[in-house]
Symmetry: none
Subunit: 212 residues, 4 copies
DNA sequence: AATGAATGAGTCTTCATTCAT
DNA sequence: GATGAATGAAGACTCATTCAT
């Protein structure tokens, strides 16, 4: 008897979570496409095949929904980046894998990348700023760790790893956005090679033979 | 007699331009702070110390005003970048100067930099996209030219100069934004050195003695 | 079970239609009194005891509401006229009844008559013109039919029935408007007799005995 | 010396009147085309080739201008009608001439006729109502006189001449409007004949031979 | 819990009117 | 007297949020 009740409750909970997730998915698509302000709750309700009022059972208000979308999105990125950084590969491989992983993620989820660009600031952002900054700090810390590892191994120069990690994200994201606007594939060999090479050696002459 | 008339006319014209400029200035401040959608024409009118209706004598509507602000802003950047690129210095110095100039411009006009982040999307941007893309192409062409010059002189590696130019802007702008959010000075020695070094040599070990 | 659902649905639908109808009624009153341009949606909302925004759930915009009012109004007139024209009476009686019916309708719905005067012009009318012209054509066709019947029976002269039908409406409507402005009763014996007589015989001497 | 001053003054006055007249002319065109509310003072100023502010030197405000236009227009009609009614012709000829004169006037001044239809009522009209009603009364009195003359001469039946006069205007104006909307010529033989015949004999059978 | 109709505050935009030049 | 830039009141329309069913 108890079990049944538990089941029922947990089914309810599961359903609740599933619906929440559907809303988030729909919202993310539309927020990415139109930005926060040009998206209406009607748009989202239609996409999620729900009544507008229902959304308020799962999120406090439009801003809350938007932030939840943002947070989920950046959480995904965080997971992917962390997993790559914690692998057992040498630092250089890790960096290369990071480029690959991120471009691939952006390619599969163009909306995620757009969402990150349309970081609508203003009043809104302020409320959320702390949370988002923490997420970004986590991302930077992960990459920063890989860079420090490389420096310890004498592979990378003694640079400011936080700045370098931030630069890393700027590069990848900027490149992906540019591909997106120009309607090129986001994940492509040329860009991969350019970025890996540029990130390692900058624009200066680089003699392949020096490497070993 | 004629002169007086001419004077009058030109004074009127000057006043007209001045007023337009005042509106643009006020608008730029507020658009930068709040973004397009959270800015109301009332905000701008108050800031410009004008009646709301007056703005419509100078701009067709809110969008037109916003685009004019954007265009003026990016025009400024274009001028500064072009001037630096056309100087008589060696390519490496030019690149260093570009970093300095841009950071300095961003420091003096934080709003400009914020404005550039807010790639306002959706329907709106589309109308303007062509124009804005042209501006960006010009920026990239200028920097690209410097890079090609450096390659011809054997200073830089044979990289894709357009990608590298785009990466350049992503780096500088990203760095400046990050300083801004963390309330650090945008123009500072450490960042300058980091960026110059990173852009030239990436993160790899770089032995100063190899240089010559 | 099904029945309940059906009932609910149909109740909702009925309520929806009822509300729409309330709005139309309120709008018609005010449009008639003030004309399209001097009527504000606030006026209508207040009259209909609804929030302004609610109106937009039933009509696309102010113009749509106005046209809907016009159409409903002329539709009423069309029905009344058609019914009278299709009765089994001799043509002369039909014409007399038409005068009576129309004056009576105008008396009960002064707003309807006023509405018809305000041939709102310009851009606006053009959108609707075709629809309205069709309605007017229908009206004229109905009356025209009665006149043709009368001509076939040798009761009326061989006049252009379309012109005569149009003249009929001009007369009745003009007479009603004039009563309205002069604050006389719209439906009154003298006017009825005058119109019936005038329409049949014009202003010329008419010897009652000639009739038979 | 005095004469010169007088001349100057009267020249000024003449110029003033001329300008006033130009404004009226421009205003009448645009009011007729767009109606009161869709016409802006800018429209009129452009048409009159004057600055907007200048209009306020000649008319108190937009409403005053509109009423002046209306009054001038109906004054023209009044003159034409009066002149025709005071001629030395027999009543039937006078009536025929009235039809001709009015149609011809409407044809030459379509705006006048439109203006009369777009008698925007509402608040506005109320202010003016008395004046306009007087004008209409004058028109009706003139025609009424002709009808009475005809009755005295045994030409017309003993009808209510005021009603018959009003009916006359409704007929002519309605007919002209209908030609206008259907893009037919306003002054044309068929309509003339129809109206003259209809007004005299209504729709009943009329044996031409009875006439004499 | 889901629904979606109702709400009304908030914004852009227009335009009659004023007034300094 | 003419000008036309500035003004700000007024109005249409949108949409996040609430709430009765």
């Amino acid at each position: 008897m108890k079990k049944i009740i538990t089941d029922k409750v947990s089914r309810k909970e599961r359903e609740k979570l599933a619906r929440r997730s559907e809303i988030l998915k729909a919202a993310r698509r539309i927020f990415a496409e139109k930005g926060l302000h040009e998206t209406t709750l009607d748009d989202i309700a239609v996409k999620a095949e729900l009544a507008k009022g229902t959304i308020y059972g799962y999120f406090e208000n439009k801003d809350d929904l938007f932030f939840s979308v943002l947070e989920e999105a950046i959480g995904n990125l965080e997971n992917v980046v962390q997993k790559t950084c914690q692998s057992d590969l040498p630092p250089q491989e890790k960096m290369l894998n990071l480029v690959k992983t991120m471009l691939s993620l952006f390619e599969k989820n163009e909306d995620l990348m757009q969402l990150m660009t349309r970081n609508q600031p203003g009043q809104l952002m302020h409320k959320m700023q702390e949370k988002m900054q923490n997420h970004f700090k986590n991302l930077i810390k992960s990459v920063s760790g890989v860079l420090q590892e490389g420096i310890r191994q004498g592979l990378f120069g003694k640079i400011d790893t936080e700045k370098a990690a931030a630069a890393f994200f700027n590069l990848i994201h900027g490149n992906a956005m540019s591909s997106f606007w120009n309607k090129r594939k986001i994940y492509n060999k040329e860009d991969l090679e350019f970025m890996a090479n540029f990130y390692l050696h900058g624009i200066s002459v680089y003699d392949e033979k020096e490497k070993k």
